[in-house]
C-alpha cells in the first residue's frame, strides 16, 4: 500500500485532477468550493436556530419583532437551502461530465497500449486497479473530498476557539477524549483489515457456486449427476463460514461502538457538568447555556465528519494514484522513430529468424528457435497439439507480441522498425474467441461508423462469406444492431453465423495477410468443408496463415508447419511430410485410419 503513495503526492494528484477537469469544464473548481462552503453553513446555521430563538424570547422583544425575526430566519434558511441545492445540482452534473471524460480517456489509453503489456500480469493488474479507481468515491470525488477536509478543518478550529475561550482546560480534556475515540477506530481498522483477503475469497466462492448452480446450462449436469445435495451443502457451508467471519468482525465493531458511545456520552455529561460549574460561578442565561452546549457538542460532529472525510480523501487519493499509474504506462509508438510502411496491396515476404519467446512469469519457453520464411501469396498451415505454441507464433507474427529473442522481418526489415498501427493494417484475422460490438452489423464488419461504412462493399463481403441470407431475413438488414443484452431490439447470432461475420470482417479489411485461428471448431463437416472452399477461393491473392489441430483441414495449404512443444519439428507439403513418416505422418495416420 505504501509503495504506490510514494510516487504521487496529494498536491500533484490534486493538480492532475483539477487540470483534467478544468480543461473540459472551466470554473468547476470554484463551483465545488462554493458548494462545499454552503453545504457546511446550512447545517451549522440550523443547529443554532433554537439558541437564537431562546435569545430573542429571553430579551422580551415585542411580538412584532419576534415575528420579523422568525421570518428573517425563514428567509435565510430558504435562501441557503436553495443555494445549497442549486450548487449541489450543478456540481453533480459536472461530476457526471467529469466521469464521462475520465471513462473516455481510460478507454483510449487502454486501446493505445501494447497488447503484450495489457495481456501480461503487470499491465492487467494496473488496468484493473485503474478501472476500480473510476468507481464512485474514486477519482471524480477527489476534489470534493479534499475541499470537505479543508472546510471541516475550519469548523473544527471554530469549535476549538469557542471552547478554549470558555476554558482551555476543558478543551484539552475533550481533545484527549477525541484522541481516545480515534485510537479506538484505528485499532478496529487493524483488526478488520486482517482477514480481508480471506473474506474476499469466501465471498467469491459463494458467488461462484450460486452462479453455476443457478445457471441454466448447468441444470442438465446437476440433474444427471445428482449434484443438488452437494451444491446445497457446499454453499451452506461457505455461507456459514462467511457468517462466522462477519460475526467476528461485528463483535469487534460492537465493542468499539460501545466504547465510542460511552466516550461521547461522557463528553456530553462532562459538558453539562462544566456548564453547571460556569452557571454557578458566573451565571448564564438560557440562550448562553444553549449556545455553549451546542457549540461544544457540535465539536463532536466536526471531528466525526473530519475523520470520515479524511478517510474518503485517502481512498480517492489512492484511486487517483492508481489511475495515473495506468495513464503513465508507455503507449506504443510514442518514443521512437519508425520506418514508413507503404501499404502494399500485394502480399509480401515474411522471414522469421531464430525466434524464441517466453511469457512473463513462466520459466518455460513457449517458442524456441523458430526459423521460417513465408513467401508472398503462400498458404501455410500451422498444426500441432494443444499447447504447442501455435497461437503464440501467430501473435508474434501480427506484432501483437514483441519477440524477446530473434527477429521477424517483413521485406527484409525487422518488423519492430515499423509503426505498429501501420503493420497491423497488413493483417486480417479470424480469431476463435472474438466478441462483437453493440452496434450495427455493418459497423461490426467495417469497424467504422455506419456513415463511413462502404455499404456496397459490406453487401459484397456478406455475399462472399455466405451471411447474406441471414442478413436478408432480418428486418433492418445489416443495420440491425448486435448484442441483445444491451438493447432489446438487437439480435444475437448463432455460432456458425458468428464465424461468417468474422470472415466478412476479415474480407472487408482486405489485407494482404489472412490469419485463421481454428475457425471451424464448432461446425458440422459440410459447413466446415464449405468454409474451407471459401477460404481457398477468397484467399487467392493473399498470404494465408491457418492454425488448426484438424489435420484434415490443411488441404488447401501449400505448406504445413508442424509445431511440437514450441519448436518446429517438421515443415513441408502434406505429401512430403507423409513421405518423411515423422510425427505429422503418425498423427495423420491416426486420424486417417478411420476414414480409409
Amino acid at each position: 500500500m505504501k509503495k504506490r503513495v510514494k510516487s504521487f503526492s496529494f498536491i500533484s494528484n490534486f493538480k492532475f485532477v483539477i487540470k483534467t477537469t478544468e480543461q473540459l469544464q472551466p470554473k468547476t473548481f470554484f463551483l465545488y468550493f462554493f458548494s462545499v462552503i454552503i453545504g457546511t453553513i446550512v447545517p451549522v446555521f440550523s443547529i443554532f436556530i433554537p439558541t437564537f430563538l431562546l435569545y430573542i424570547v429571553e430579551k422580551n422583544y415585542s411580538p412584532q419583532i419576534v415575528v420579523v425575526f422568525v421570518l428573517l430566519i425563514l428567509a435565510i434558511s430558504l435562501l441557503l437551502a436553495l443555494l445549497d441545492k442549486v450548487l449541489n445540482k450543478e456540481s453533480k452534473t459536472r461530476i457526471s461530465n467529469t466521469a464521462k471524460t475520465f471513462d473516455l480517456l481510460f478507454a483510449k489509453k487502454m486501446m493505445s497500449l501494447d497488447y503484450e503489456l495489457i495481456e501480461g500480469p503487470v499491465g492487467r493488474t494496473k488496468y484493473i486497479k485503474a478501472k476500480n479507481a473510476l468507481n464512485i468515491n474514486g477519482v471524480y470525488d477527489y476534489v470534493g473530498n479534499s475541499l470537505n477536509v479543508v472546510i471541516q478543518l475550519f469548523g473544527f478550529v471554530f469549535s476549538c476557539g469557542v471552547i478554549s475561550f470558555l476554558n482551555p482546560f476543558v478543551f484539552l480534556l475533550i481533545i484527549c477524549a477525541q484522541i481516545l475515540l480515534l485510537m479506538v477506530s484505528y485499532i478496529e481498522q487493524i483488526y478488520i483489515n486482517r482477514g480481508k483477503d480471506r473474506r474476499a475469497l469466501i465471498d467469491r466462492h459463494i458467488i461462484e457456486i450460486s452462479k453455476t448452480a443457478g445457471d441454466y446450462v448447468a441444470a442438465k449436469d446437476i440433474r444427471f449427476f445428482s449434484l443438488s445435495k452437494l451444491l446445497k451443502k457446499t454453499s451452506e457451508y461457505f455461507i456459514n463460514r462467511k457468517k462466522e467471519e462477519y460475526n467476528k468482525i461485528y463483535s469487534i465493531y460492537f465493542i468499539t461502538d460501545i466504547a465510542s458511545q460511552l466516550i461521547s456520552v461522557f463528553i456530553t455529561a462532562g459538558t453539562y457538568g462544566f456548564l453547571f460549574y460556569i452557571l454557578f460561578k458566573k451565571g448564564l442565561t438560557a440562550s448562553e447555556f444553549n449556545f455553549y452546549l451546542t457549540s461544544i457538542l457540535s465539536f463532536d460532529i466536526w471531528i466525526g465528519k473530519l475523520v470520515q472525510s479524511l478517510d474518503l480523501l485517502k481512498h480517492s487519493h489512492y484511486c487517483v494514484s492508481d489511475l495515473r499509474e495506468f495513464f503513465d504506462l508507455e503507449t506504443i509508438n510514442e518514443t521512437r522513430e519508425y520506418k514508413t510502411l507503404e501499404y502494399f496491396n500485394k502480399p509480401q515476404d515474411i522471414e522469421i529468424c531464430n525466434l524464441s519467446y517466453k511469457y512473463t512469469g513462466s520459466d518455460k519457453k513457449a517458442l524456441s528457435n523458430i526459423n521460417l520464411t513465408i513467401k508472398a501469396g503462400e498458404k501455410i498451415a500451422i498444426v500441432g497439439l494443444n499447447g504447442a505454441g501455435k497461437t503464440t507464433l501467430v501473435k508474434l507474427l501480427c506484432n501483437l507480441y514483441t519477440c524477446s529473442c530473434g527477429e521477424i522481418k517483413l521485406n527484409g526489415i525487422n518488423i519492430n522498425q515499423y509503426k505498429k498501427q501501420d503493420y497491423y493494417k497488413l493483417f486480417s484475422a479470424v480469431f476463435q474467441d472474438s466478441r462483437f460490438l453493440p452496434t450495427s452489423i455493418a459497423s461490426n464488419i467495417s469497424n467504422l461508423t455506419f456513415e463511413e461504412t462502404d455499404c456496397a462493399k459490406v453487401n459484397e463481403v456478406i455475399d462472399e462469406s455466405g451471411l447474406s441470407e441471414k442478413i436478408k431475413s432480418l428486418k433492418n438488414g445489416y443495420k440491425t444492431t448486435l448484442i441483445k443484452n444491451i438493447d432489446e431490439s438487437s439480435t444475437d447470432l448463432s455460432g456458425g453465423e458468428q464465424q461468417k461475420l468474422l470472415l466478412s470482417r476479415a474480407l472487408y479489411k482486405n489485407s494482404p495477410f489472412l490469419i485463421l485461428d481454428e475457425p471451424t471448431a464448432s461446425l458440422d463437416p459440410i459447413s466446415e468443408n464449405e468454409l474451407y472452399l471459401k477460404y481457398n477461393n477468397l484467399a487467392k491473392n493473399k498470404t494465408v496463415i491457418f492454425i488448426t489441430h484438424r489435420l484434415s483441414s490443411t488441404g488447401f495449404c501449400d505448406r504445413i508447419v508442424f509445431l511440437d512443444q514450441g519448436e518446429i519439428i517438421e515443415t513441408g507439403t502434406h505429401d512430403e511430410l507423409i513421405a518423411k513418416n515423422g510425427k505429422y505422418a503418425q498423427l495423420f495416420k491416426l486420424q486417417a485410419q478411420y476414414y480409409e
Binding site: I73, L74, D103, A107, E208, N386, L437
Partner: protein, 615 residues
C-alpha cells in the same frame, strides 16, 4: 396518485420466509429500531428540564439528577440497540447469499423444460439483478423502518400535542393574545396536520419518481459501461481492437452510450432537485409557523423557555418522521413488485413432483430403448424440431447420431434423457413408457457428457464423484482412463484442488482439454448402463481425442453408448448410425451400408472429411 397498494399478505409471506432463512434477523432488527429511537426523546425531555432549572431555581441537586437520569437511560438503550445492530449487519450481508441458495434449491427441482424457458430464466435474472432495489432484504429493512418512523411519529406527536393547549393569560393584547387564543391553537393544529399530510403526499410522489428514475439510471449505466467493463476488459478482444483498428468506432460507441447516460443522469439530478426543494420549502414553512407561535406563547408566559426548546426540537423530529414514513410506504409498495417476481418463481409448478405411482428402475437393468413415432416441438415454437422419429437401441450397442448443425441431434438426446417430453409418440425403456419410471431412477441409468457441460466450483474429486465423501481410488481410476493421471499427480493437493484460482489461491485454471477430460471422468465415475457423449472432444487435439475414443470403447465394455460427433471417424465402428436432417431420420444403419448410398447425406458428410485423408 400512486395506485399500488401495500399488500399485507405479500409482506407477511416475505417476513415468514426471512424468518425461515435467518431466524435472528427480524427480532434483532426490531430491537435495534425501537431501542435506538427512545434516547432521542428522553434527551429532548431532560434537556428541557435542565434549561428550566437553569433559568429558574437553579438547584444543583435537580440539575445533577436530570443529567444522571438522562445519561443512564441513553447508555442503557444504546447498548441494547447496538447489540441488535450487530446481528442485523451480519444478516444483511448474508441475506442475498441465503436467498440465492434458496432459489437454487428451487431451481434444482424445476422441470428442465422450465429451466430452459426464457420466461423463467428472465424471472430468475430479474430477481437477482434487482436485489439492490427490492426483495427480501429490502422488505425487512423497509418494514422495520416503517415501524421505526411510525413509532417516532407517534411519540413526537404525543409530546407535541400539548402545544395546542390553551391557558388564558389575561394581561395579553394583540399578537400575544392571538397566539394564546383557542382560534390560533386550532389554526396551528389544522395547519400542522394539513402541511404534514401535504408533505407526506409530496414526499411519496417524489420518492416514487426518484426511485423509478434511479433504476433506469443504473441500468443505463451498466449498459454504458459495457464496452469498458466487458469488451475492453476481456483480454482476448485486445487482438481485434488492434488488428482491426477498432479504436475509433469503440470511442464513438462509448461516447454515444455515455451521452445517453448523462442525459438520464441529468434528468435524475433535476428531478431530485425539484423533489427535494418542495420538501425543504414545506418543512421550513411549517417549522417557522411553529417557531412564531411557540415564541409568542413563551413571551406570553404560557410556556417556559425549556418547554419552548423542547417543542422546537420536537417539531423537526415530527416532520422528519413524516417524510420517513412516506418513504417507507413508497419503498414497501415498490418492493411488492419485486416480491411478486420472487413468489412467482417459488410457486412455479413442476410436472415431475406430481403424485402418482412410478416404477422403480433398478440400476443395470436395461435391455432396450425405443423411440416410437416421436415428434417434438419446443414450447412456444411453431416448427417441429423432430418429426416422426422411430428407432431402437439394444443393450450393448454403440450408436452414433450424425447430422449437420441444427438437425436435431441434441434435441433427440434431450428427449431421451427426459429433459423434455415428446409432443407426439412415445419413448420406451424395457418396453415400458419412460414416463412411468421414477424420474431420479431414470436419470440414474444415464451418464452424459453434454456438449455444453459445466464443471462446478468444487474440488476436482468432488466434481468427478459429485459427492464430498468419495472413493478416492475409484476417482483416480477414472482419471487414469481419460489420461488425467499425470495432471493430477502434478498438483500439490491432488484431487483436493479447486478448479478455479478466483476463490482459492491454491486452485488451478483448467485448459479446455483438461476440463473436458474431467467431464468425461465424471461420466465414467457414475457408471450407468447407458453412456451418452455429445461432441465431447471438440476442444481436444487429435491425439487425445483418439486416445479417449479408443479407451472409451474399452472402458465401457458391454455398456450401451450413444455418440454425437462431427468427427465421423468416431462413428465408424458403431453398430448403428442414425443420420438426422432437419429433424427427420434420413438414414439408419451401419457405416458400410450407409456409405453405399452415394446420393445420401451420410456419404456427403463422410466425404467432406474423408477426402482430405484419401489424397
Amino acid at each position: 396518485m400512486i395506485k399500488k397498494r401495500l399488500k399485507i399478505d405479500s409482506i407477511i409471506r416475505g417476513i415468514k420466509l426471512v424468518n425461515l432463512l435467518m431466524p435472528k434477523y427480524i427480532p434483532n432488527m426490531v430491537l435495534f429500531v425501537v431501542f435506538s429511537s427512545i434516547p432521542i426523546y428522553t434527551n429532548i425531555f431532560f434537556s428541557a428540564k435542565i434549561i428550566d432549572e437553569v433559568i429558574g431555581k437553579c438547584r444543583l441537586k435537580y440539575l445533577l439528577l436530570y443529567l444522571v437520569v438522562m445519561v443512564i437511560i441513553s447508555i442503557f438503550f444504546t447498548l441494547i440497540s447496538k447489540f441488535g445492530w450487530k446481528y442485523v449487519r451480519v444478516n444483511q450481508l448474508i441475506s442475498g447469499d441465503w436467498e440465492d441458495s434458496f432459489l437454487n434449491q428451487k431451481s434444482f427441482t424445476l422441470d428442465y423444460e422450465q429451466i430452459e424457458d426464457n420466461k423463467v430464466r428472465e424471472l430468475r435474472q430479474q430477481i437477482t439483478d434487482n436485489r439492490e432495489f427490492g426483495g427480501l432484504n429490502v422488505l425487512v429493512i423497509r418494514t422495520t423502518y416503517l415501524i421505526k418512523s411510525l413509532l417516532n411519529l407517534i411519540i413526537s406527536f404525543a409530546m407535541i400535542v400539548s402545544i395546542f393547549k390553551i391557558r388564558s393569560v389575561p394581561s395579553c393584547r394583540g399578537l400575544l393574545a392571538f397566539a394564546n387564543s383557542s382560534a390560533c391553537s386550532f389554526i396551528l393544529f389544522v395547519l400542522t396536520i394539513l402541511l404534514a399530510v401535504f408533505l407526506g403526499y409530496n414526499a411519496q410522489k417524489g420518492i416514487h419518481l426518484k426511485s423509478t428514475k434511479s433504476k433506469e439510471l443504473s441500468t443505463t449505466q451498466k449498459k454504458a459501461h459495457f464496452l469498458i467493463d466487458e469488451y475492453l476488459s476481456d483480454n482476448k478482444t485486445g487482438k481485434d481492437v488492434r488488428i482491426y483498428s477498432q479504436e475509433k468506432i469503440i470511442i464513438e460507441i462509448i461516447k454515444g452510450m455515455l451521452n445517453n447516460y448523462s442525459l438520464i443522469n441529468r434528468q435524475f439530478i433535476s428531478l431530485q432537485f425539484s423533489v427535494d426543494n418542495k420538501i425543504t420549502v414545506i418543512n421550513l414553512i411549517l417549522n417557522s409557523c411553529v417557531y412564531i407561535i411557540v415564541s409568542l406563547k413563551t413571551i406570553a408566559g404560557t410556556f417556559s423557555l425549556g418547554v419552548m426548546l423542547k417543542y422546537i426540537s420536537l417539531i423537526s423530529q415530527f416532520l422528519r418522521n413524516v417524510v420517513n414514513l412516506s418513504d417507507s410506504i413508497v419503498r414497501l409498495q415498490e418492493n411488492n413488485l419485486y416480491l411478486k417476481n420472487l413468489y412467482e418463481y417459488l410457486d412455479l409448478e413442476t410436472k415431475t413432483d406430481k403424485n402418482g405411482t412410478f416404477h422403480a428402475l433398478p440400476s443395470d437393468h436395461f435391455s432396450t430403448l425405443k423411440f416410437i413415432n416421436v415428434s417434438f416441438k419446443y414450447p412456444h415454437h411453431k416448427e417441429f424440431a423432430l418429426q416422426n422419429i422411430s428407432f431402437e437401441i439394444k443393450k450393448g450397442e454403440r450408436v452414433a447420431i450424425v447430422g449437420k448443425n441444427g438437425s436435431g441431434k441434441t434435441t433427440l438426446i434431450k428427449l431421451l434423457c427426459r429433459l423434455y417430453d415428446p409432443t407426439e409418440g412415445i419413448i420406451t425403456l424395457n418396453d415400458d413408457n419412460i414416463k412411468n419410471y421414477n424420474y431420479s431412477d431414470y436419470l440414474n441409468a444415464f451418464s452424459v457428457v453434454f456438449q455444453d457441460y459445466r464443471l462446478f466450483p468444487l474440488t476436482i474429486g468432488q466434481n468427478i464423484s459429485a459427492s464430498d465423501q468419495y472413493d478416492k481410488n475409484r476417482v483416480i481410476k477414472c482419471c487414469n482412463l481419460v489420461g488425467l493421471n499425470n495432471f493430477i499427480y502434478g498438483l500439490p493437493n491432488g484431487l483436493e484442488t479447486n478448479i478455479s484460482k478466483d476463490f482459492d489461491e491454491n486452485g488451478i485454471i483448467l485448459s479446455g482439454g483438461e476440463a473436458q477430460k474431467i467431464a468425461i471422468a465424471r461420466a465414467l465415475y457414475k457408471n450407468s448402463s447407458i453412456v451418452i457423449l455429445d461432441e465431447p472432444t471438440s476442444s481436444l487435439d487429435p491425439l487425445s481425442e483418439s486416445e479417449i475414443y479408443a479407451d472409451f470403447n474399452r472402458i465401457i465394455k458391454n455398456k450401451t453408448a450413444i455418440y454425437i460427433s462431427h468427427r465421423l471417424s468416431s462413428c465408424r465402428f458403431c453398430d448403428k448410425i442414425i443420420v438426422l436432417d432437419k429433424g427427420n431420420i434420413v438414414q439408419i444403419g451401419n457405416h458400410e451400408s450407409l456409405l453405399k448410398d452415394k446420393d445420401n447425406l451420410y456419404y456427403s458428410l463422410w466425404n467432406a472429411q474423408a477426402q482430405y485423408y484419401n489424397m
